[in-house]
């Protein structure tokens, strides 16, 4: 029984190391891999939206910070192409 636990432990450890190495290669280094797990993964989510769903609404600020508008307020007459992103 003890041997089984040891082998399971070793297998898990090796799997974790392999996963971390693969992530490091993908992210560009071990530091990037760690930061990806710490900072990026909590914000990466596939979401539930699919083609055909009603587009959600959200309030958005204009660049002056004083005026606001809604994403859905921009839809209607023509299709709306929405580009989400940031500078960094």
């Amino acid at each position: 029984m003890r041997k089984i636990f040891i082998w399971v432990g070793i297998s898990l450890g090796v799997s974790l190391v392999i996963a971390f190495v693969a992530l490091s290669v993908m992210a560009g280094g071990p530091k990037d891999a760690l930061y990806m797990v710490r900072y990026a993964l909590p914000h990466m989510h596939r979401g539930n939206l699919k083609v055909g769903d009603s587009a959600p609404d959200a309030r958005i600020y204009a660049l002056d910070g004083a005026e606001t508008f809604h994403i859905r307020g921009r839809t209607g007459a023509k299709p709306l192409v929405v580009v989400f992103g940031s500078f960094t």
Partner: protein, 133 residues
């Protein structure tokens, strides 16, 4: 931006600025240093607006623009982070949902959708070469 110029008579465009992807106090990339795009994750709306305005100024960005509020409502509703493209049709339905950036962020798919509807916009080889130079 070429897609915007080609189809702005047929479709509306909106850029929504969301939380930073690679701020200095989180996962900063080497490319951020190289390109001098170094900002901490904004903790309030005015910081986020300041960075967005820097972006507009640096690239003379012509698309209509809005900034997500600090609850990240738009980001969460559209699973936008770090970058994603959508098309919402005239009935308010999702007509196109792009993959999560950077690897699955594909403006060519947006162009293809618009081309199917409104026709392809071709650019002459001469114009393309002029732009490249």
């Amino acid at each position: 931006m070429e897609i915007f110029n080609d189809y702005k008579d047929h479709a509306d465009f909106l850029t929504v600025y969301v939380r930073e992807a690679h701020p200095t106090d989180e996962w900063q990339m080497k490319s951020n240093l190289k390109d001098d795009v170094c900002y901490a994750q904004p903790r309030n709306l005015s910081d986020r607006l300041a960075i967005a305005n820097d972006f507009i100024k640096r690239f003379k960005y012509p698309l209509p623009f809005g900034v997500d509020d600090m609850t990240n409502a738009a980001n969460d509703a559209y699973a936008a982070w770090p970058e994603r493209l959508y098309i919402i049709d005239e009935n308010g339905k999702i007509a196109y949902r792009g993959g999560m950036g950077p690897f699955h962020y594909n403006p060519a798919e947006v162009r293809a959708w618009l081309a199917t509807r409104y026709g392809e916009v071709k650019h002459s080889a001469v114009k393309t070469e002029e732009k490249k130079s």
